[in-house]
Symmetry: C2
């Protein structure tokens, strides 16, 4: 599949955009006119650069407001078109995007448009240019793809074809069945964008909220399958207007986009065969394609979270809290002296100590001293206590890793003793490490490396709550979807004292893997830098939720061991009472144990939180019945308590520095 991307998707100068597209691995780009106009490089220099980089210039765009106008205006428009054709010759581009008229069309008669398209075709022919005519969703008279196709068909000119853009088609909910009527060779270009399900005017939706395939709400696999079935053999190009992407890192956005194309390609590669023999175009094609679709190694949903790795420069505080929660110390890693294992039943936490910012050797989770992304950015190891990585149980770890690499994820560099379990992993968009652990029913093999002890407790990691930088949120959704076959549930907004927290759960179908992704409302300038590839972890804590059989027992143990529970206000329990009409003794028992409570039609949810160490805290939970949620109504209580704790700490620090000063 010939992959391409419109330069308007990316930030930076035209030169930076071309370099980023080439480095990511696209086959070509669409040149967006505005990018050329503001560039100091001549069209010839741009063409040279593309040649040098080994990418093709697939399309020049956009040409606007040509058709449906009176004769005098049309003549002017032809003159304008001719200057573009000359420019395209200098760039070496042979296809131009013609958008249906938005501003100046006055003639509703299709016959006029057909005739004008034909005349444009004649002019284009003398320059060797092809016209890809596209119906904009907000076009004045032509706004549906099949209308544009009818016009192109009627024009019946070898230089006039159509351009199909998933945004303009899917945003209008148009019936897709007529795509099948279009012969592949009359589709002169194909543009793909996904979008979240928003109810807003289509122009704003298009200009600000498009995302890459797999990051929105649409079924682009179905869309591309329909295009493939026409016999279309041209570029599959991303045209995504998105405020975040336009201000993001150029290289990173390019990689994110290419990942979306590779994922989409693979999602249909197996169901669509290459054309058999020399089937004539007249025969019904069936599911075959000229797109040269490449599959990816298959991945099944993960079976569970094998372990979570925490890094810390405050080993005492962290392990004390884990002890209070009933975790048992198992041992140090046999070849990595700063790495410990703690277990609570099947909940496995690897603790790797960092001292003065120096990470100390890899553990099962793959701790490494430094990492560098493809763009050459190196990130220094950081101090603090933070969630470093997650080990996912997959059915075929080797294939998962291979797939990840083909999806342009960066491998975590890792030192490994020759007799250690081979674990490989990649960096997630937030800089955390994702490891692929071969699923096995018995105790994982790597646990031997710590001298495993038996643990009777029935307990496991229920979910891991990750903080995401807001500008890489869509990228994260695609990352977990494409690499791990997780699903994105609808997002929610949770009120906190410092704004709304956007929360969206990535999960496996059976719920054995659940990861709420949270976007903190305010990017703090003083945010902790680090955790891998150039990401910024915002000042929003992450947490590991551990499921247990008896929350009251867990709370009693924790209390007896002196756990610093996150405080729950009296007002909360009074409100709980008015919401759920609980037995007074039960309510009292909850309150005495700092336990929060939620209920739905399927079951109940009991949980308590610890205080935060660095940027990590724990949640202990007990699910009763088939409750599937995460206690969302209680999240504001937690956020407010954490806000108060932070404010107290800030005040104390200010006072202390005042006393010292």
């Amino acid at each position: 599949m010939h992959t391409s991307i419109a330069t308007v998707c990316l930030s930076g100068t035209l030169e930076e955009k071309l370099r980023a597209a080439a480095r990511a691995g696209y086959d070509g780009v669409e040149i967006f006119e505005q990018d050329l106009v503001v560039s100091p490089d001549s069209p010839e220099a741009i063409a040279d650069l593309a040649r040098e980089l080994g990418i093709s210039l697939d399309l020049y765009q956009p040409f606007r407001d040509l058709e449906g106008v009176d004769k005098a205006q049309f003549q002017k428009n032809l003159t304008r078109a001719e200057t573009k054709f000359r420019l395209m010759a200098r760039l070496g581009i042979d296809t131009i995007l013609l958008c249906s008229n938005v501003g100046t069309a006055t003639m509703t008669d299709d016959g006029v448009v057909v005739e004008q398209l034909r005349r444009l075709g004649d002019l284009a022919d003398s320059y060797g240019v092809n016209i890809a005519y596209e119906a904009l969703a907000w076009g004045r008279f032509v706004s549906e793809y099949d209308h544009a196709w009818d016009l192109v068909k009627a024009a019946d000119h070898p230089r006039i074809g159509t351009c199909l853009d998933s945004f303009h088609i899917l945003s209008r909910n148009t019936d897709l069945s007529r795509i099948a009527e279009i012969p592949g060779e009359k589709i002169f270009f194909l543009q793909l964008a996904d979008a979240p399900a928003l109810t807003m005017d289509v122009l704003s939706w298009s200009r600000h909220h498009r995302v890459f395939p797999g990051e929105g709400a649409w079924d682009l696999s179905d869309f591309l399958t329909r295009i493939a079935a026409t016999g279309y053999a041209g570029p599959v190009s991303l045209e995504v207007f998105n405020d975040s992407f336009r201000q993001g890192d150029t290289n990173r956005t390019a990689v994110d986009g290419l990942r979306s194309l590779r994922w989409l390609e693979a999602s249909i590669a197996d169901t669509i065969a290459a054309p058999t023999g020399s089937a004539s175009a007249a025969e019904p094609a069936g599911p075959s394609t000229a797109l040269d679709l490449q599959p990816l190694p298959e991945v099944e949903e993960p079976r569970g979270i094998n372990y979570v790795e925490l890094s810390t420069d405050d080993l005492g505080a962290l392990t004390r809290q884990m002890h209070q929660l009933g975790f048992q110390f198992i041992g140090f890693h046999r070849s990595k002296p700063h790495v410990q294992l703690w277990l609570r039943g099947e909940a496995r936490i690897i603790v790797s100590e960092v001292t003065d910012g120096v990470g100390t050797g890899a553990d099962a989770g793959g701790t490494s001293s430094t990492s560098a992304d493809e763009a050459g950015t190196t990130s220094a190891p950081v101090n603090g206590t933070f969630l470093r990585g997650i080990g996912f149980e997959v059915t075929d770890s080797r294939s998962a890793m291979e797939r990840a690499a083909l999806l342009h994820a960066d491998e975590v560099p890792r030192d490994q003793a020759h007799n250690d379990e081979v674990l490989r992993g990649v960096f997630a968009p937030d800089g955390s490490e994702v490891f692929f652990h071969q699923f096995e029913k018995a105790t994982p093999a790597w646990i031997q490396e710590f001298g495993h002890d038996h643990d009777e407790q029935v307990s496991h990691i229920d979910h891991v709550n990750l903080a995401q930088p807001s500008n890489h949120y869509d990228e994260a959704v695609l990352f977990y979807t494409s690499l791990l076959a997780l699903h994105a549930e609808p997002s929610q907004d949770v009120p906190s004292p410092s704004g709304l927290v956007r929360s969206q759960v990535m999960s496996s179908t059976d719920g054995s893997v659940r990861m709420p992704l949270n976007v903190s409302p305010q990017p703090h300038a003083e945010a902790v830098a680090g955790r891998g590839i150039g990401s910024v972890v915002e000042a929003y804590p992450e947490h590991v939720a551990v499921a247990c059989e008896d929350i009251f027992h867990a709370a009693a143990t924790a209390l007896s061991r002196g756990l610093d529970f996150l405080p729950v206000p009296q007002n909360y329990y009074e409100d709980l009472d008015s919401r759920f009409d609980l037995a007074p003794e039960f309510l009292q028992q909850l309150q005495e144990n700092h336990i929060l409570y939620d209920r739905d039609e399927h079951g109940q949810f009991l949980h308590f939180y610890t205080s935060t160490i660095g940027s990590v805290f724990f949640e202990m939970i007990e699910r009763r019945g088939d409750y599937r949620g995460f206690g969302a109504p209680d999240a504001p209580v937690r956020l407010a308590a954490q806000h108060r704790k932070n404010a107290q700490l800030s005040a104390q620090n200010a006072q202390m520095s005042g006393q010292q000063g």
Copy 2:
């Protein structure tokens, strides 16, 4: 007018919200239930705090999903209501907001709802509670204010009244004429919010995009006038759900909101008289009100920009550039040794030198050594070259200053010699200084302080382009509207290499004052701090546009004096040609002088840019005919050129520090 604000408008804990409301000067607050539930303070403690702060607790909200349900459910709902009534007694609040049923209503029969409201009223009566029933715009069966009023009227219960919320009413475009049917004493509460004109689902619009009155697109003066005419005498309260406000500084948002209420109050105070004598409620009231509306000193639109003040720690570079642009050095201020005046016709630039972060005495524009806002935040003077303030020509500077103070703007502290012209000013939301200069036809009096010289050039400040922090954008619009009677034109998005720049022009009707406000796409963590009250100036340059009679002459002078023009690419001129079909000689003349060009049906716009010093650059412009714009199509060219310059500088710096290291 009794001013109030819902705690949900503000960030922080409940205690912080109450303190911020009191400090800003509100008379009361609405307690949002969620804020209480997550608070560690008991209802009694909250009531005590409010008493101590001298603010009333005007409303408890919201109570949801009561009416239109079957008998069993209604009984449960009454029990739930009773727990709230008890809680309200502890808080000392006598009015609760009842939202029309969104989730559980099954009965469409108004009679059922009326009966249930009446029964709720009986229960409320035994607790001394009043019910303010509000139609939510997305209510299941009740979504219009007049429907809610019909139900309240039919219930005919002394404890049942209605709550009117401008958002729920104006967002649905409901006919407002029936407001006049509601007797003021049956309006139990009034909530105000403004909103931008967005086309999106009303729930998202309401939950994320409400703004304070004067910051959106609605005519709230008309709305409040209608309410006032009913005889309503209760609180006028802000209920604004806005993502930025919820994560902003609590005190600052509170002040922003109160400013909106004061402005709104004053806007109708003169047209509505207080009730004369003891007019009975039965008589048609006419334009009279029980709201006790306080006017503000009137302000007319400013007549022009008297001067712009720039601060710099690179005096040589800045004044050299001004010299190249044809500015003449006039003199130093007689009592402020670091302050100079430069003129180009009537374009006046005050240059105040700062050395090592120490500002050095006030000038005409009011430079002062330090400033402190009401919240006690002090801002250290900063290095760099930046736009410090603007002097506006107003018809009555004393009254403008008085109005500004009543609108809660912070006065710029200022040292002044006893014989200097008295100039007073306030801080704008972006931290720049706004001075009110008495309009006079002759040369301004303060110029004498520099030993004024005559200048033959016909030139003036055409516009000033300000960068705004994105989270204080709405605040800035209200600030300039309410203090200076400027108007906000529709906003535009301008593409730049690092994202879309939102640009909106604040201007006076005759165009003598024009200020494009720009929101840079990305808040840079390494942004220059300072410029007054705790604001962050983003790394987006500001500029002063100077109008001249002959741009080619100005460019020739600048060229001969060695000006560092911002480069304009060849591609731009080729595109210009294809857009405007210009005479080749003219096009060449433009290009040779680095001049950009735009045209509309009214006239032409010729302009060139200088390079940036610190965060400031200049634009020289010539308007031909009645062109009213700002060359918006050329802005991307400028932004791209500035982006390239920055990238070059960064690369040079990196190289230099590499050589040093």
